[in-house]
Symmetry: none
Subunit: 234 residues, 2 copies
C-alpha cells in the first residue's frame, strides 16, 4: 500500500503545493492546518511520515514533535521539520526533540521530495527485507509464508499480517488500537476482532516443541510476541 504522509502547516497554499507533488509520486496525503489537529492525526492515522511546520496555531511544531515522540505508539514515525527561521539553534532543538530531518523555508520542492524518499527508503530498508528471522521463526514476506522450526505454518492472510507486524517488533507490546490501525487502516470501535485472530494465531504457533513462540497478553495494554521465558517460582 502507498505510504501515508501527513503535511502539517498553517499555510494552506503551501500544503496544497506539497500535497500535489507527493500525490504525483504516488503517496497518500493527509493534512492538518494547526498543531492540535496534526497531533491528533498522527495518533489517529499513524502516517508513515510527518512533514511538520514549526510555527502553527494552537500548538507549535516543537510541542507536536515532543508529544509524538513521547508516545510509544507514534515515536518511530519519522518527522521532517520545516521552519522559516534559519538559526542553527532551532535545528539543534528540533533534532533534540527527535525530529528526523530538518529543512529551512524557503526550500526546494525537489529537495523535500528527496528527503521524503530517503526516509521512506530508510524505513523500507528496515521493513522490506524479504524475510524476518528470529530464533526458530522465519517469515517470508514475498511468499507470505511462515516457518516455525522449518515447518511451514498453515496461516490465513489476516493472521499473516498480524504475525508479520508483531514479529517486526518482538518484545514490544502492541495495543489492539495499534494493530487495528496498522492492519485494518483504522479502527476504534469495540470489537473482539483482534482477540479472535490472536486466539487463532496462538493455536497455530503452538507446535508443542522447543522454545515456544508465544503471544503474551498484557492486560489492559495489548499483546506482545516473544519467546517463552524461563519461569522462576518465587
Amino acid at each position: 500500500m502507498a505510504e501515508k504522509i501527513l503535511i502539517a502547516d498553517d499555510e494552506e497554499s503551501l500544503v496544497e503545493f506539497i500535497g500535489r507533488a507527493l500525490k504525483k509520486q504516488g503517496f497518500r496525503v493527509i493534512t492538518a492546518y494547526d498543531g492540535d489537529n496534526a497531533l491528533f492525526l498522527i495518533g489517529e492515522e499513524l502516517p508513515d511520515i510527518v512533514i511538520l511546520d514549526l510555527m502553527m496555531p494552537l500548538m507549535d511544531g516543537w510541542e507536536v514533535c515532543r508529544r509524538a515522540k513521547s508516545d510509544p505508539a507514534t515515536k518511530d514515525i519519522p518527522i521532517i521539520m520545516l521552519t522559516a527561521r534559519s538559526s542553527a539553534e532551532d535545528a539543534v532543538q528540533g533534532l533534540d526533540l527527535g525530529a528526523d530531518d530538518y529543512m529551512r523555508k524557503p526550500f526546494s520542492l525537489d529537495e523535500l521530495l528527496a528527503r521524503v524518499r530517503a526516509l521512506i527508503r530508510r524505513k523500507k530498508g528496515e521493513e522490506s527485507v524479504r524475510t524476518i528471522e528470529d530464533g526458530d521463526l522465519r517469515i517470508d514476506r514475498e511468499e507470505r509464508e511462515v516457518f516455525l522450526r522449518g515447518v511451514p505454518l498453515d496461516i490465513s492472510p489476516m493472521e499473516f499480517e498480524i504475525l508479520e507486524l508483531m514479529a517486526g517488533r518482538i518484545g514490544r507490546t502492541l495495543s489492539r488500537e495499534e494493530i487495528l490501525k496498522k492492519i485494518w487502516g483504522i479502527g476504534g470501535e469495540d470489537t473482539r476482532t483482534v482477540d479472535v485472530h490472536i486466539s487463532r494465531l496462538r493455536k497455530k504457533l503452538d507446535d508443542g516443541k522447543g522454545p515456544q513462540l508465544m503471544i503474551q497478553t498484557s492486560r489492559g495494554r495489548g499483546y506482545r510476541l516473544s519467546w517463552e521465558e524461563e519461569q522462576f517460582d518465587v
Copy 2:
C-alpha cells in the same frame, strides 16, 4: 495524561486569558483567585506546574511559594512567579524562595507559554527515561515490566504504578495521601486501599535473595522504598 497547570492570580480576566491559551496547547488547567486557595489546590491537586501571581488577597505569592516549597509533597512542583513590579530585587527574592522561573507583567503570552513548555520539558526529561535502575532493581516504563536481579516480577498494573512512583524517589517517605493523589488522581477518604497494595507489593519484592528491596513503614507518615540496611539496636 495531559499536564495539569494551576494558574493563581486575582485578575480573573488574566487567568481566563492564560487558561484559554494553555488549554489550546493541550494542558489541563485549574485556577485559584487568591493565595489561600492556591496553596490548597497545590496540595490537593498536585499540579505539574504552578503559575503564581505575587500579589493576591489572603496570602501573597511569596508566602504561597515558601509554603509549597517547604512541604515535601509539593516542593518539586515548578513555580513560575508573575509580578507587576519590575525591581530586580523581587526576582531575586522569588528565586530565593525556590520559584523556578520568573516573569514581569506585562509579559508576552508566547514567552509565558515557552517557559511553561520549557519546564514541562525539563520535567519530562527527568521522568521520561525509559528505565529506572537502582541496584538490583530495573523498571521498564515502556513495557511496564519490573526485574529484580534480572528476574521478571509478575506485577499488576496498580502495583506497578506504586512501585514506579516509589522507585523514582527511593529513600523518600510518601504518605498515603500523596500516593492516592498521584496514582488515583485524587483521594482523601479513609480506605485501606493503599495499605493493601503495599502489602501485596511487599510479598512480590521479597525474593529471599541478596540485599532486600523493602517498603518501610513510617508510622503516621507513610511508606518509603529502600534497600535493606543493617539495623542497629540503640
